[in-house]
């Protein structure tokens, strides 16, 4: 089909390749698809065991708000791990930034500087500086990242606790600030009431009855899905025009339809509650950005090359030291954002904010298929990995599974995912 439009540059080779490409497209994407399928299976499992609570709109909103900081930090961690490093300090940096933000807004009277937006920007910059400070030792003095960030983990947890004056918490934080985590986007189009809510005898509406849709969310969702489908088709067209094989058409159609249906289902769920959580929007923008950076930009390519073979990358003219520094600055900024999200959700800064979250973040990246040796890993994988962790947390909590046993299950899932990966790789 495509060969009639434009002759394939490889001539006969392309002809021979066609059936093989179909197979290889499937096998190479198996990891990615498998992960998404695993997430769906896990969600259905908990939907069943929690007797339908998991997919309740209110719970989905909670799920997103509870786990967004893990996913935001996982984006940075993915780049760190792909580069061949590790960052153990992210939880402590998040805690420290939360404490810093709370102090700036509540305790220290800084006048206009206490404005939540200004505070947030300052905090992101501080996060970047922290990343730079750690990255400097890793990149230019070749101190193992494990050690530098282990030190960072201790240091910033300590400063976090000191800033909060020992064991106390600082709050309440301004409502404007809390919007970051617990807010929903405003409905500029206006709600659409499909089923009017039931009114009880006292003349009050019963919570959760009726069905009103948040139209801005619906419209945004539709735009996103259409854009996704449009870009998918456009890329295919472009490949075909240049005479190169794209993935098989039926596979493409199925993939696009399934993804769109899932997205629309989630959009509908959010729309029937209070609309799109602000933090989900932030997350969505960041995920798209990081997918673009890793897949399309030269800096992304260089990061993968550095993680795959640092010496070869260096001898190809890549400044691996500067690149390492940038990866850690990025991680610092995202840790700071994670810290702001945690503080905004709790409405206050607490000494234990983000405690142990570095492990969840790292687990998300590894469940998502990244290699501990560096050079391998996808943004989408890390995001799905993060959601798998989040859904398990959420689902098991609703089921009333003891927190101790939750950890055991999460550990087993992490181990299982990596064993699956290694086993697959050896087979191939």
């Amino acid at each position: 089909m495509s060969t009639e439009i434009a002759p394939a540059p490889q001539g006969n080779v392309a002809e021979e390749q066609r059936p093989r490409i179909a197979v290889s497209a499937l096998t190479t994407n198996l990891r990615e698809y498998g992960l998404i399928i695993a997430l769906i299976v896990i969600m259905l499992f908990f939907q069943f065991t929690t007797s339908g609570t998991l997919f309740k709109p209110v719970n989905l909103s909670n799920l997103v708000q509870q786990n967004s900081f893990i996913i935001v930090m996982a984006l940075g961690m993915l780049l760190v791990i792909v580069s061949g490093y590790i960052d153990l300090s992210v939880g402590s940096v998040a805690g420290f930034i939360g404490a810093l933000a709370a102090n700036m807004m509540v305790i220290w009277q800084l006048g206009p500087l206490s404005n939540p937006l200004v505070v947030s920007i300052v905090c992101l910059i501080v996060g970047g500086l922290i990343g730079a400070a750690q990255g400097y030792w890793i990149a230019y003095h070749r101190i193992p990242s494990f050690i530098v960030t282990l030190a960072g983990m201790l240091i910033f947890r300590g400063i976090c606790q000191a800033l909060l004056g020992g064991g106390s918490s600082v709050g309440p934080l301004p409502d404007d600030f809390k919007m970051l985590s617990s807010g929903f986007i405003p409905d500029v189009i206006g709600p659409l009431t499909l089923i009017p809510p039931t009114v009880n005898a006292a003349g009050k509406t019963i919570m959760g009855s009726g069905l009103t849709l948040h139209m801005t969310t619906i419209v945004l969702g539709l735009i996103a899905v259409l854009a996704y489908a449009y870009f998918g088709v456009r890329t295919r067209r472009k490949r075909e025009r240049h005479g190169y094989e794209a993935e098989p058409f039926p596979l493409f159609i199925i993939k696009t339809l399934v993804a769109s249906a899932l997205a629309l289902f989630l959009v509908y769920e959010f729309a029937s509650y209070r609309g799109l959580p602000v933090v989900l929007l932030v997350m969505g923008v960041l995920i798209s950005l990081f997918v673009f950076v890793t897949k399309r930009m030269t800096i992304g390519r260089r990061i993968y090359a550095m993680g795959g073979n640092a010496k070869a990358a260096q001898l190809s003219g890549i400044n691996t030291e500067r690149l390492t520094l940038m990866v850690f600055i990025n991680m610092g900024v995202l840790s700071a954002l994670g810290g702001l999200i945690i503080a905004a959700r709790l409405g206050q800064a607490v000494p234990a904010a983000g405690l142990g979250s570095e492990l969840d973040v790292i687990a998300a990246v590894f469940i998502g298929g990244a290699s501990a040796m560096g050079g391998v890993g996808q943004v989408i994988g890390a995001v799905v990995g993060g959601f798998i962790m989040g859904v398990m947390n959420n689902g098991m909590s609703i089921m009333g599974v003891n927190v101790d046993w939750q950890q055991v299950v999460k550990g087993l899932v992490l181990l299982g995912a990596v064993i699956f990966d290694v086993y697959n790789k050896n087979k191939a």
Binding site: Q17, M297, A305, K311, L315, S316, G317, I318
Partner: protein, 510 residues
Amino acid sequence: MASTILEMRDITKTFPGVKALSNVNLSVEEGEIHAVVGENGAGKSTLMKVLSGVYPTGTYDGQIIFQGQECHFKGIHDSEHKGIVIIHQELALVPMLSIAENIFLGNEHARYGVIDWNANEARTSALLKKVGLKEDPKTLITNIGVGKQQLVEIAKALSKEVKLLILDEPTASLSEKDSQALLDLLLEFKRQGMTSILISHKLNEVNRVADKVTVIRDGRTIETLAKKDISEDRIITSMVGRSLDDRYPPREPDIGEVVFEVKNWSVYHPLHADRQVIKGIDINVRKGEVVGIAGLMGAGRTEFAMSIFGRSYGRRITGEVLLKGKPIDVSSVSRAVEHGIAYVTEDRKTYGLNLIDHIKHNITLANLSGVSRHSVIDDMRELAVANDYRKKTNIRASSVYQMTGNLSGGNQQKVVLSKWLFADPEVLILDEPTRGIDVGAKYEIYTIIARLAAEGKAIVVISSEMPELLGITDRIYVMNEGRMVGEMPAAEASQEKIMRAIVRGEGKAA
């Protein structure tokens, strides 16, 4: 008359695509020092690995008869048990352990797993006395020099009640004085009745200590010379005596003005600050010219090339690099690349490729700006470039999406070459461009080199295979111990001439 202690008969060893040894025979008499000489890659080390069981029985053909018994070594333990001990070129000592710990590593005087340190150290002292090393057994290996480390290796061999000691290039990294001491020690062992095999390409050493010399070339035994017949000339002729046939593509050199010059280039070792690795080298390359750098392993050729290429090797680098008569800044790889210099590494797996990524990404890595706009990669352009170079360099793969780690050596080399061709350099430095690849792929690489020269690039080829240099270059520099010790037009060069320059250079350095 002494009896034969070791007889290796018709040893044949093949690696995928390469016949490393074919029907090699070696016969060693008890109590002699038997030298095995040959060019790099002739098969000396492979032969010794067969003998010591590194390549276990069954992976080669032929017989090994030691002390009248046919041996089938399954591993290095078996051969050591028989008293055959090999000391490898790269020392196998643990740097952060003491001399005594190293000597008895895996073989400690112990009871129920508890080490008797007194016994170990007493025996170590005795062994150290034997090899003439005055060091405390508790001294860490990292704190003694390479020469002494070599002696520790020998002491370790002695601890195993060695009957046949094999030394693989023992003096390669030693100073002249340490080398002399080591050779004296070998002679002393001989007086005590020990048999040894000395692998070397330093002919003056061979001349001095060997009772017999076996010459190996291209994986075959050429001849075994008795003491009275040993002379440098005879050995050199025997080592290199082969003709150049049509293994090299024909080319019509079209040589222009000088493009690339290096002046008074000096480099010090990255770790040993007082060891000068490159000692004031001057070279120049003309447009359309292929210049070879000959020399033995360890001559400093790779170090020289890498230090030019963005200071990727060494410290305290001094000297000047000129492109078309103007000095250029090569202080980082990206600057060197910007100025049109490319270096294709000798070790493609470690320094050349990202083995866990596919061909396309590897080809464009050194010139990402060539396939991107505002730092955004144009996927289609990249794919077109990759397919183009795949065709140009004839990379055999199912598609450009094949992992480079799954390619054969020859195809991997073509990917590395493609990467640098896409960077469009003026000066291309190729370090051992055909190492470990089969004959067919070699011819293809030579063809690419010839084409690049015809396009007017200046090309430097570093190679340990002298026929290759004679076959594809226009002019040859000979390097030894960090110096250029000779320069000759390829038309006037011969393997004897090159070898002689190296050997003479060796004498001079002392």
